[in-house]
C-alpha cells in the first residue's frame, strides 16, 4: 500500500517548521519530570531486586545472577509459561484487531441508531476484569454452560472449554477478543480522521468501494493499526487479569501465562527478587519484538506529516 501512500498530495515539500528544540523539551517536560520522580525509581529498583532474594517482607541479599540462572535451568514452568504467553498473543492480538477493524468499518457507516450500536459493541469492554466477568465466563464456558448448550442446538458435541488445559487458553483469548472495544474506538476515531476530500477525489476518478478502502482508508489508518498492534502486543505479553480471575493459571498450568507466574512468584511465593528477574527477561523479549515491529513500520505505515524528525 505504500506506493499509493507516497502519491498523497499532503507530503510536505519544504520544512519551515521551528527547529527550535527548546520548545520540544518544554512540551515534553511534564513527562520528563514525571519519569524522573515517579517512574525511574521503581524501574531501577525492580532491576536491582532481580539480583537479590528480596521477598517484600525481608530485605534482599545480593545473589548476583542466581535468579536468572534458575529461570533457565531449574524452573520447569518458566519456559512453558513464556511459550504459552506467545501462543496466547499470537491468537488474541490478530483476532482482536481484525474484529475491531471490521466492526469499526461497519459502525462508521451512516445508519440509523448507529450510536446505540456503537455503545452495544463497547459494553463488554466497559465491564473490564471485574468479578462479574469471572462469574460470567465460568457460566458461559462450564461443561453444561451457555456455550455448549448453544453448540448443542447445532448438534456440535460439548467442548471442555475450561477443563482441558489446551482449550482453556483459547477460552481466555476469547474474553480478550470479546472486549475489543478500545481498539474499535481507536479505529473509529482514525476513520474519522481520513479527510473526506480524498474520497471525493477518488470518486471523481471513478474508484469503487474496494479500491477506496485499499488505497485511501487503509493507508490513512496505518498509524492507528500500528499503534494498536504495538500496544496489543505489549499488553498481551503481560496479560494477567483474564487468566487470573477465570482459571488462576490452570488447569494443569494450561493458562499459566507469564504474567500470572510473575504475580504468583512475587506475592504468593514471596519471591519478589525472582519475579523481578522473570519480569526483566520478559521486558527484553517485549522490547525486542517491539523494536522489530517499529523497524518494519517504515515499510507499511503511512504518516501524513511527512515523517517525524
Amino acid at each position: 500500500m505504500s506506493p499509493q501512500a507516497t502519491k498523497n498530495p499532503s507530503v510536505p515539500s519544504v520544512r519551515k517548521y521551528p527547529k527550535n528544540w527548546r520548545w520540544g523539551i518544554l512540551f515534553i517536560l511534564p513527562w520528563l519530570i514525571g519519569f524522573c520522580i515517579l517512574q525511574a525509581y521503581p524501574l531501577i529498583m525492580s532491576l536491582y531486586y532481580s539480583f537479590t532474594d528480596f521477598s517484600i517482607l525481608a530485605e534482599g541479599k545480593w545473589i548476583g545472577l542466581d535468579n536468572y540462572k534458575r529461570l533457565f535451568t531449574k524452573d520447569k514452568y518458566f519456559m512453558k509459561s513464556l511459550g504459552l504467553t506467545f501462543k496466547y498473543a499470537l491468537m488474541a492480538v490478530p483476532m482482536k484487531l481484525i474484529m475491531a477493524l471490521i466492526v469499526a468499518m461497519i459502525l462508521n457507516m451512516k445508519l440509523k441508531c448507529i450510536n446505540l450500536f456503537r455503545t452495544v459493541y463497547y459494553l463488554p469492554s466497559i465491564m473490564g476484569g471485574s468479578v462479574a466477568i469471572s462469574i460470567l465466563w465460568r457460566f458461559m464456558f462450564m461443561r453444561e454452560g451457555m456455550m455448549n448448550n448453544f453448540l448443542g442446538v447445532f448438534g456440535i458435541p460439548s467442548v471442555n472449554w475450561l477443563g482441558d488445559p489446551d482449550i482453556a487458553l483459547v477460552t481466555i483469548s476469547l474474553l480478550v477478543v470479546w472486549q475489543f472495544g478500545s481498539s474499535m474506538v481507536l479505529f473509529l476515531a482514525g476513520l474519522k480522521n481520513v479527510p473526506t476530500e480524498l474520497y471525493e477525489a477518488a470518486e471523481v476518478d471513478g474508484a469503487n468501494k474496494w479500491t477506496k478502502f485499499w488505497s485511501i482508508t487503509l493507508p490513512m489508518l496505518t498509524p492507528i493499526v500500528f499503534f494498536n498492534l504495538i500496544m496489543q502486543i505489549i499488553h498481551a505479553l503481560q496479560e494477567f487479569t483474564s487468566a487470573f480471575i477465570i482459571t488462576s493459571g490452570g488447569p494443569n498450568h494450561g493458562t499459566y501465562l507469564i504474567g500470572v507466574k510473575i504475580y504468583e512468584d512475587a506475592f504468593q511465593n514471596l519471591k519478589m527478587g525472582y519475579a523481578s528477574a522473570s519480569s526483566w527477561v520478559l521486558f527484553l523479549a517485549i522490547l525486542l519484538i517491539t523494536v522489530l515491529v517499529f523497524r518494519s513500520s517504515s515499510a507499511w505505515v503511512f504518516y501524513n506529516d511527512g515523517g517525524m524528525d
Binding site: 517548521y17 519519569f35 471485574s130 479527510p195 510473575i262 506529516d305 517525524m308
Partner: protein, 279 residues
C-alpha cells in the same frame, strides 16, 4: 437502491453480532434478580421473579458507608485524573510529534519501555515512592501521574493521531507569527478532538475499573472507590456472598462510563470533517 441493500446487510451483521456479544451481559443483568441458588444452579435467562431487593441492599454497602460515598469518591479520583491526563498527554505528544530535540529517540524509547514491565514488580517500589511523598491514602498517587503525563500509552496514541495531520497546517500558522503553544491550542487541538476524546474515554474507564492501585494506595474505607467497594463483601474464605448484590452494584457502578461513552461518540462522528482540512 444499491445503498439500501448495503445498509440492510450492515444491519443484519450488526444485529446478529450484537446479540451474540450482548447476550452474556443480559444474562448478568437478569442474574441480579436471582438468589445464589438460582443464579448458580439454573441456566435460564429470566429470573423466577423480579425484585429490586439486591439493588436496595447492595446500595447500602457493608457497614459505615453507602455506595453514594463510593460513587462520590470515584468521581473525586477519576474526574481530575482524566482531565489532567488529557491536558498533559496532549502537550507531551505535541512535543514528541512535532519537534526536534536532543535524545528524542532515546527518550521516546524510554517512555514506551516503561509499559513493558509487569505491574506486579513495580508496585512495591512505587508504593515506597508515594509513601515518601506522604501520598498514601490520598488520591495524589492518581492525580500526580496525570499531571506529569505518566501514561505513555495515551501519549503514543496522540502522537499517532497528530502525525495524521499534515504539517503545513501548523507550519503556516507558525509563519504567521503564532508561537507553538498557540498553534497547538488554536489549530491542532480542535483537529485532534477524536483523539482527545479517546484519551478521555480510555482513561475514565481504566481509572474507574482499576482495582490493584486503588487497593494498595487507599486504606481508609471512607476513601474507598467503587472498584474497592464491589469486592468489599466477598470473603472467599468461607462465608457466603450475596452475588446478586455484587452483580447489581457492578451494573450500577458502570452507568457513568456508559453514559460518557454514549455521549462522547458524537465527537468521533464529527471528527475532522467539520474542521475541514485542505491538503
Amino acid at each position: 437502491m444499491r445503498v439500501k441493500k448495503n445498509d440492510i446487510i450492515a444491519y443484519v451483521i450488526l444485529i446478529v453480532m450484537g446479540v451474540a456479544m450482548i447476550y452474556p451481559l443480559f444474562w448478568l443483568f437478569f442474574a441480579t434478580f436471582k438468589d445464589n441458588q438460582e443464579l448458580f444452579g439454573k441456566m435460564s435467562l429470566l429470573p423466577e421473579k423480579f425484585s429490586s431487593i439486591a439493588y436496595k441492599n447492595g446500595w447500602k454497602g457493608s457497614g459505615q458507608f453507602t455506595y453514594l460515598t463510593f460513587y462520590l469518591n470515584t468521581f473525586k479520583l477519576v474526574v481530575p485524573t482524566v482531565l489532567l491526563t488529557a491536558l498533559s498527554t496532549g502537550i507531551v505528544a505535541y512535543g514528541f510529534g512535532r519537534f526536534k530535540f536532543p535524545f528524542k529517540k532515546i527518550l521516546f524509547a524510554l517512555m514506551i519501555s516503561t509499559l513493558m514491565l509487569p505491574d506486579a514488580v513495580i508496585m512495591i517500589p512505587r508504593y515506597v515512592v508515594f509513601n515518601k511523598f506522604g501520598w498514601v491514602d490520598t488520591y495524589l498517587p492518581f492525580w500526580a501521574p496525570a499531571v506529569l503525563a505518566c501514561y505513555p500509552f495515551l501519549i503514543f496514541m496522540q502522537i499517532q493521531f497528530l502525525r495524521g495531520i499534515p504539517k503545513e497546517l501548523d507550519e503556516s500558522a507558525y509563519m504567521d507569527g503564532c508561537n507553538p503553544f498557540v498553534v497547538y491550542v488554536k489549530i491542532l487541538a480542535p483537529l485532534l478532538k477524536p483523539s482527545v476524546f479517546s484519551v478521555i474515554i480510555f482513561q475514565t474507564l481504566w481509572r474507574w475499573n482499576d482495582y490493584f492501585n486503588n487497593l494498595v494506595y487507599i486504606s481508609s474505607v471512607k476513601n474507598y472507590t467503587l472498584s474497592l467497594a464491589l469486592k468489599m463483601s466477598i470473603d472467599s474464605q468461607g462465608s457466603s456472598t450475596p452475588w446478586n448484590q455484587v452483580l447489581a452494584m457492578s451494573f450500577v457502578s458502570l452507568i457513568p462510563p456508559i453514559l460518557l461513552y454514549f455521549f462522547a461518540q458524537k465527537y468521533f462522528v464529527e471528527g475532522i470533517t467539520a474542521g475541514g482540512i485542505k491538503g
